[in-house]
């Protein structure tokens, strides 16, 4: 590519000086708003024994950290006192756990002088990393009025977790990179949201996301290239294209990792028999097996109606799906239809959780103005109950 060579040569010669100056000016222009926002600073605030307390769970202060025991429901809530500090200068949180296998999710809340109730700062799902490093300054709630930080921990009931470090810090290259690295996280299994927001990670709590960081880098590197190309009267396009492509490839690597993780998980997770028949591998497996039993219990016939109701939309929908090609009814946003529509001989599948109950052989629902039809239980198991209208 002659144009690439020409521009590279120009970068090395006189033109490169102007280019480097322009690049530095570009960086300076980026830094000004950060400095003016007071984000730069190496100050840090250790959230140690003097500031920490457990609202839920048991906290033990150790010489070099803290030990936290989750309660019987697998929850703990830590409160950190920020009184006397300006949180806006300390938007980066670092929470290091010695052993975090028992932790599924971390929830961050703040409370300000003016608000009685805590407000949500963010949620870190599937915390596989040992160090959790969220940035709280993203949505404007992390103001100088904040006086308390809460960390909710969800995990294995009764598990003991050792916390090596809990610190709030200012913006330094290390905190930016630590926050970005944590935000990118490790690959995750597909979720129901993946068809709309495909990229995994805790990017809501990241200061400078990978796209923004790479966009700035691409734009920044383009400045000296443009200067060099202008000086050499050569086309800058090939070099700009290469810079852009390199940025794209860097982001694409994380996507490859995600795809590889999921393809591998799909391949190794099932036996050949399961793959051929396409038995569900997801968390609805128990539901699909129960639906299979319901299918066996309901008499055949295309006019035989099965009405599915659940307070959990996903479970209700998925149970109904597994029952097709039977003549199935499931409605989004409500459980079973009003009693007037329930006919004798209809089968009713109540999927847990549900607000329906059977009292004295009569089906009821708190929203129904009148009692429902008389029903008989046909099948009952952990996922739900199959009833038939008498």
């Amino acid at each position: 590519m002659p144009a690439v060579k020409t521009v590279a040569a120009a970068l090395r010669r006189q033109a490169s000086r102007k280019g480097v100056i322009a690049f530095l000016v570009f960086l300076l222009a980026l830094a000004v708003p950060l400095v003016s926002a007071g984000l730069f600073g190496t100050a840090s605030l250790p959230l140690d024994a003097g500031r920490a307390a457990a609202m839920v769970g048991e906290l033990e202060i150790l010489e070099d950290g803290m030990a936290l025991r989750l309660d019987s429901k697998g929850a703990a809530l830590l409160r950190f006192d920020l009184n006397g500090e300006d949180p806006t200068r300390l938007p980066f949180f670092r929470f290091e756990l010695a052993e975090n296998a028992a932790v599924n999710r971390l929830l961050f809340f703040g409370r300000s002088v003016s608000s009685a109730e805590p407000f949500t700062l963010g949620v870190a799902e599937g915390t596989g990393a040992r160090a959790v490093a969220p940035y709280f300054g993203g949505d404007g709630r992390w103001t100088s009025d904040v006086i308390e930080l809460f960390v909710g921990i969800e995990g294995r009931p009764g598990a003991s977790i050792r916390i090596d470090r809990a610190t709030l810090g200012g913006a330094t290259p290390a905190s930016w990179l630590g926050n970005l690295r944590w935000g990118l996280a490790k690959p995750e299994q597909w979720t129901l949201r993946s068809v709309n927001v495909a990229v995994p990670g805790n990017l809501d709590l990241v200061f400078l996301g990978p796209v923004a960081a790479l966009s700035l880098l691409v734009a920044g590197l383009s400045v000296p290239v443009l200067f060099a190309a202008f000086a050499a009267r050569a086309s800058a396009l090939p070099v700009l294209a290469l810079i852009f492509l390199a940025g794209w490839l860097v982001l694409d690597l994380t996507w490859f990792r995600q795809q590889l993780h999921n393809a591998h998980a799909g391949v190794v997770a099932a036996t050949m028999h399961e793959k051929r028949l396409g038995l569900p591998l997801d968390h609805a497996t128990a539901l699909s097996r129960f639906a299979g039993r319901v299918d066996d219990a309901v008499p055949a016939g295309a006019s035989q109606r099965i009405l599915v109701g659940s307070a959990d939309e996903f479970r209700g929908m998925r149970a109904a799906y597994h029952l097709y090609p039977r003549n199935v009814y499931w409605e989004r946003g409500r459980e079973l239809p009003s009693p007037a529509y329930l006919k004798k001989g209809d089968f009713l599948l109540i999927v847990r959780p549900s607000r329906h109950s059977v009292q004295g052989g009569v089906l009821r629902h708190p929203d129904w103005e009148q009692p429902g039809p008389r029903v008989r239980a046909v099948l009952a198991d952990e996922p739900g109950t199959l009833l038939v209208v008498r």
């Binding site: 790479l214 239809p337 209809d346």
Partner: protein, 490 residues
């Protein structure tokens, strides 16, 4: 059974490819990538249409009638291709000759391999993972399961109608009973081919849509005059967009099929009009109609082809006047039509027009999170290219108008209607944006080619250094790509 499976799977695809060869006046060998891409797409649609035809005729949806119909179709297409083959091929201008160095060839190959790897990983995922997505199991595969089981396209009605009409053998319901039937029919086609319902085998069409998308994009990029490297780069950029491969891996949604179909409709219509090729325009119309048969939004995307066609057909002043009259007509229609009139599943009343706070900023989140990688940066090329071309590059202008209209509709949908919920809660906005992304990638490619042409002219000035290696390639006839070759011939 294995023979039936192979025949039923391959015959519609083969018909599609041969039909595409006929329409594009291409030689059978060596096959051009976009011809195969259009062929796969056409073949899948033919498979779904043949099932609809069987059902309309009262014939059950079973293997033997489907085989007979598809065999007849294949035979017809074979006869058509044999009759028209020799005369048609000679008219096609030669593909641009490659002047790439070894480094460029290697880079192009690496990028194509990366795109292929993305497709391979997604395909693996689709073929080992049962139907998974919410909508896939809420209203797409529900119909497919019933139609396959009943061997006919039985009626699906709303929840209320189902309750009111009481028990009936051929009356079913799901969450979106009125959605177009193509996607469930593709799943029925798969199930019919293997003889049983499989939660993974019914996913096969989605990898095929991915492959068709890549082939159409690469092949048409070359036809538009892009070098092999340039075409490879843009094909890789498109296929590596996370949501493209995510929709193959988590098959079962109509969004990727619609995205591929809209790109095909846009390319065929625009290039058909530009080259005065009625067959290609017809092919574009077919894909535009199929857009409406995939998802309700397809109707609105198909409408965006109208202004694009006008850009290519009309002189600038007439175009401006017509567009203004058209816009006025749309506004007047919106004002005078009753609010409960439903068009493609939507009524004004149902849309609840009003700006929703937070929706506009929520639309940026997928871009910030990398759902579209760095495509947001690439789009900046478009205004630059439009300014440089000053309206002379009519194809660039036409595609800009089509995509611009579609993006405007998209923005209205997700900021001014009740669907803003889907943007604010990140549950639908990116899926719908996916419909337009291949078109947007095409627009970026056209913009890049325009900028390269401008840069080439600038750097060829006396005393200037070497021009860009990425500039549009020169064909054997010494002119730029085939379109330019045709234009100059004309």
């Amino acid at each position: 059974m294995a023979v039936f499976t192979c025949l039923l799977l391959t015959m519609p695809l083969l018909s599609g490819v041969l039909f595409s060869v006929f329409l594009l006046r291409q030689p059978l060998w060596p096959p051009r990538p976009h011809v195969i891409g259009y062929g796969l797409l056409t073949g899948m649609f033919l498979a779904s249409l043949s099932l609809r035809l069987l059902d309309l005729s009262g014939v059950p949806l079973t293997v033997v009638p489907a085989l007979v119909l598809n065999a007849a179709l294949l035979l017809t297409v074979v006869v058509l291709v044999r009759r028209h083959q020799s005369a048609a091929v000679a008219k096609e201008p030669p593909v641009a000759a490659s002047r790439a160095g070894r480094g460029q060839k290697a880079l192009a190959l690496i990028l194509l391999l990366l795109a292929a790897l993305h497709l391979l990983l997604a395909t693996t995922d689709a073929l080992v993972r049962p139907l998974f997505g919410w909508d896939a199991t809420m209203h797409w595969a529900t119909k497919a399961k019933v139609w396959f089981d009943q061997a006919q396209i039985v009626e699906f009605v709303s929840n209320e109608a189902w309750l009111e009409r009481g028990p009936a053998p051929n009356l079913f319901t799901d969450h979106h009973p009125a959605y177009p039937p193509t996607v469930p029919l593709l799943q029925v086609w798969m199930a019919l081919s293997v003889g049983f319902w499989s939660e993974t085998i019914v996913n096969w069409p989605w990898p095929l849509f991915g492959v068709a998308l890549a082939l159409i994009f690469y092949g048409e990029s070359r036809e538009l005059g892009a070098s092999a490297l340039c075409a490879s780069v843009f094909t890789y950029l498109l296929i590596s967009l996370p949501l493209v491969t995510a929709h193959i891996a988590m098959a079962g949604y109509a969004d990727l099929p619609l995205a591929t179909c809209y790109l095909a409709a846009l390319l065929c219509t625009a290039r058909g009009i530009q080259t005065r090729d009625a067959r290609r325009v017809g092919q574009g119309l077919f894909f535009a109609i199929m857009c409406t048969q995939l998802k309700n939004e397809g109707f609105f995307w198909a409408l965006t082809l109208l202004p694009a066609a006008m850009v290519l057909l009309m002189p600038f002043r007439t175009l401006l006047v017509t567009l203004l009259i058209g816009l006025g007509g749309v506004i007047v229609s919106l004002l005078i039509l009753p609010a409960d009139v439903t068009v493609a599943g939507h009524s004004l009343q149902g849309l609840e027009l009003a700006y929703r706070d937070g929706a506009a900023s929520a639309l940026l989140i997928p871009f910030q999170r990398g759902t579209w990688n760095l495509l947001g940066l690439l789009v900046l090329l478009v205004p630059l290219a439009l300014a440089l071309s000053r309206g002379e590059d009519r194809l660039l202008l036409a595609v800009s108008v089509a995509i611009g209209s579609a993006v405007s509709l998209y923005l209205i949908l997700f900021t001014m209607t009740r669907f803003a919920y889907g943007a604010i809660h990140l549950s639908a906005s990116s899926r719908i944006a996916l419909h337009l992304m291949p078109g947007l990638a095409l627009l970026c490619l056209l913009a890049w080619l325009q900028i390269c042409r401008w840069s080439g002219e600038r750097t060829r000035a006396p005393g200037a250094g070497p021009g860009p290696a990425c500039a549009p390639e020169v064909s054997d006839s010494g002119k730029q790509g085939p379109i330019e070759a045709r234009r100059q011939k004309g």
